[in-house]
Symmetry: C2
Subunit: 154 residues, 2 copies
């Protein structure tokens, strides 16, 4: 109970607002696993569109639009699981800068959301899909370069 209260106080301090957690308060290791899971599903599905963009897989409009819709819904999920105290608890590559450089981290995460939001429309046409996959890829790389460690740590 005391730990939950500390977390709420920390959450208010970091975000300036109080988010009520309705689900059972997830443990740091659960948060780490969840964000890794969401990134894994995002990664494989984004790579499928990347293969189309690179000409390694034929363009199929229905598949591209459906995958874009999935990616758009998935995109915010991992970023909800980088709360205070979730830097440790399981092997993970999150750079401590995520918690010490919150403004820069949030800006990087926001860029990804902005570009992902354009994917559903772009997926309707091969050329626009190629261009948008490139734009999204840059935001992935930007955030990984700045906020993902090379080696996982406990």
């Amino acid at each position: 109970m005391r730990k939950s209260l500390q977390k709420i106080v920390l959450a208010i301090a970091v975000t300036g607002t109080l988010h009520i957690a309705y689900a059972a308060d997830p443990k740091p290791e659960e948060e780490i696993r969840y964000r890794q899971s969401a990134f894994n599903v995002i990664g494989r599905n984004f790579n499928a569109l990347g293969a189309i963009a690179k000409g390694e897989r034929p363009y199929d409009q229905a598949f591209a639009v459906k995958t874009a819709a999935l990616l758009e819904l998935l995109a915010p999920l991992p970023f909800g699981s980088f709360g205070p105290g979730t830097d440790k608890g399981a092997l993970n590559k999150a750079d401590p800068k995520i918690w010490t450089e919150q403004a820069k981290y949030k800006e990087a995460a926001e860029k990804f959301q902005v570009e992902i939001a354009k994917l559903s429309a772009a997926a309707k046409d091969l050329n626009s899909l190629k261009a948008q996959v490139g734009e999204i890829g840059k935001t992935c790389k930007g955030c990984h370069d700045d906020f993902r460690l090379k080696e996982a740590r406990q």
Copy 2:
């Protein structure tokens, strides 16, 4: 190469059709991680609707409909990663019966897809959401009872 060919032959034998894998042939440990990731994201989001159904979280139509859309798109994903040779390679709880009782396993997986497909419509109203969350929950439990081991194995 020989192993890939064996996999294709096995895939034809099991599914009766030939699915060409466009992405780089994923390793068993990647398939295990992917299906676990997809189930993890499905689980947390389904539990959020479960909390609404149980009255632990207030009903919010926009949230419920969006989460239902996400779940519908996620639902088929893990079942694409139980191919031949993916029973081992990383810690996992997949029961070997998945590969020896394919017809029964596919029937169980199909039940989940059928009920998930009704969730978007049901999410528009609290009472129908409650009922449909119950129906989906039964298909989760059914498949877990029959095809998920209690302890993970390598």
